[in-house]
Structure formats: C-alpha cells, structure tokens
Symmetry: C2
C-alpha cells in the first residue's frame, strides 16, 4: 500500500474513533439525565467515572492527529479535515463535562424528592442528543444541509430553556431547600442548552470544512 | 538562518500571539463584569462585539499551528508544545465566551436596579483574571510550580461561588422580577467559576507539557 492510501486509511480510522467517542458522549448525557430523573445516585457515579475514559480518548485522538500531520504532511484539504477533527473532539469533551455536571447535580440532590417530575429537561436532553448525532453524521458525510438543520433544533432547545427558566423562577419562594433544588435544576437546563450549542459548533466546523465559509448556526 | 532557527522563531511568534489573545480575553472578562456592576449596556455591547476578534485570532493561531506542524515536522517535544498551544487557545476562547455570557446578562438586566451592589462577583472576577495571567505566565516560563499554584486560587473561587449560591437562594422569594435578577446574577457567578476552571485547565496542560504527567488542579 502506498503512503497516500495509508494516509487515507488513517483518516478513516480517525473518523471511526471520533464516532466511537461521540457514542460514549451521547450515552453519558443519556445516563446523566436518567440518573437525575430517577434520583439514582449509583447511575450518576458511573457517569462521572466514565468521564475519565472519554478524556483519555480525547487525548489519544488529538495526539494521533498531530502525529498524522507531522509524519504525513497532508495537503491543505486533508489538513483541514484533521484540524476540524481536533475541534470536534474538544466539543465532544465539553459535552461530556456537562454530563458530569448533570450527574453531580443528582449527587447533590440525593435523597430529595423532586418538587415536580422532570418533563422538559428530559425533552431538552432528547433534542440535544439528536443534535449531537446529526452533527457527527454531518461530519462523516460532509453533509452541509444536515449541519444547517441543526439551527432549527437549537431554536427548539433555546425555547425550552426559556420556558424552564420562567417556570422555575415561579417555583422559588421562601423555602430555602426548594430554592436550592430548583436552582440546581435550572443549571441542568442550562448545561443542556450548552450541549446543544456544542452540537451546533460541530455543525459549523463541518460547514467550514466543506465550504470554507463561517456560518453561525446559533442565532 | 537555518530551518531549525526559523522554526524556533515561529514558535516564539506563536507564544507571543497566544499572550496577545490572553490579554484580550482578560480585558473582556474585566469589561463584562464592570458593565454588569455599573449596568452599562454600551460597555456590554462593546464586549460582545470584541468577541468576533477573539474568535478570529483563535482560528488564525490554530491554522498557523497546523501549518507549522505540516511544514516543519517538529520533533516530539516541539510537537507537544504546539499541541498544548492549540489546547490553550481553546480554553481562552471559552473564557471569552463566558465574558460574552456576562455581558449579555448586563443587556438582559438593562434598566433594572440591582437588588444589592455587586461585591463578591467582582472579587471572583479578580481572582479568575489573576489565575488566567498566572496560567499564561506558567506556559511561557514552562513553570510547573506556578501552574500548581492555580489549585489554591481555584479553591478560593469555588468557596466564593458556594457563598454566593447560599446568599442568592436566600434572596429569592415571591417577587418574580427579583427571582429573575438574582438567578441571572448566580449564572454570572457560575460563569466566573468556569473561567477559573479554564485557567486551571491551562495550568494542567503546562504541567503535562513539561512533565508528561496529568495532574488534576481542580479538586
């Protein structure tokens, strides 16, 4: 096999690892929100532990990207793909950090009864996860239209966040423990809103990679 | 001049640009918090506009890093320095994003009188800015001890955040507009706590770059 096809094999492996990391990250968000909805501290602890594995994956992928560039001196287009892969990995890692933030909220609220069952937060999480999946698919397919589709879902997430914000400030009152709990829940909604932003970031990298143009998907 | 000294000149230019970006980011945090403390919407808008410049700087530095690697095929040690520079740039950009978050809070609360003058939030901002400065100095000096010093300041920031959290849930009550305002102020405290985390991240990259060991500065 010549150097060129070696290089393309390396690129494909890189994409495969990125998708693997993406799946782990998606799972982390899913587990974190489920742990909160069920007040399951054990599940929350597992999510927190899992994050080390995701961080390790990030470092490995990044090091591999740098070595690939140094050893193979890719042409401009391929260099851009590797650069984007490095950006995407960073966004994935931030999403995973938010999964940890959410799991830590479960830990903080352990033993409490939720003021009301979680409905909008899991809904936000579902859309955010879909967005992550779309963003990664767009990356693999170099699919600009799919990346652009993230803007609309991000609007849905932002709208849900605003609704949750309004609802939660209405639940606040003179009971400190209620205030504490609903404030933590609002933070969770904020983390999920950020997860969606990271998915739009990934979409923006894809558009930049394919078209060379910067487009804001998060207006 | 031979290729090797060319390369070292490029590395030095890279560090200089990173510091320049760091100074802009520090300024952004300073301005954002000042705009909030004074309820100065014009200053807030300036901070938000300035962010495009910081994003642009990030992209330029990253592209330069990738080209440097592709063209010069640096040895392992230099490759690691460039990799770290790319990580640091990402943390700087996230800090700048939080400055925008804070400036947007000023915009949201425009025209309102603050429930109480801001004291702890500007104090948090001062420590976070110091941490950013320390982290960048540690990077330039490859100074592990200075990077390690960030852990203690991060504890101070975390402690202030906990105090602000307690204070703010005590200010909540039946007045929706008060709840709204203090919740936004709590978010600002949270952003600053995150700014401090990004400074510790930079410190961790420095330690990893110099010693090859991962050390958690944010316990």
């Amino acid at each position: 096999m010549d150097t060129r096809s070696n290089f393309h094999q390396s690129l494909e492996e890189l994409q495969a690892d990125l998708l693997k990391m993406g799946t782990l990250v998606e799972e982390a968000i899913y587990q974190a929100v489920k742990s909160l909805a069920r007040m399951d501290v054990k599940m929350a602890e597992e999510t927190i532990e899992q994050d080390d594995k995701i961080d390790q994956m990030m470092l490995e992928i990044e090091e591999r990207c740098l070595r690939l560039i140094a050893l193979q001196q890719p042409m401009a287009g391929d260099l851009r793909v590797i650069g984007m892969a490095m950006k995407i990995v960073t966004d994935l890692e931030r999403i995973a950090d938010h999964a940890v933030d959410i799991a830590k909220t479960t830990r903080r609220l352990a033993g409490e009864t939720l003021v009301k069952p979680l409905v909008d937060i899991p809904r936000m999480a579902d859309i955010a996860k879909e967005m992550l999946r779309d963003a990664l698919t767009a990356f693999v397919e170099k699919n600009v239209a799919r990346a652009e589709g993230l803007a609309e879902k991000d609007d849905q997430v932002d709208k849900l966040y605003t609704e949750i914000f309004q609802e939660i400030i209405g639940l606040m009152g003179t009971d400190l423990s209620v205030n504490r709990q609903v404030t933590h829940l609002l933070m969770v909604a904020r983390y999920l809103e950020r997860v969606a932003d990271h998915a739009t970031n990934i979409g923006e990298w894809v558009i930049y990679m394919v078209t060379g143009q910067r487009k804001d998907l998060n207006l």
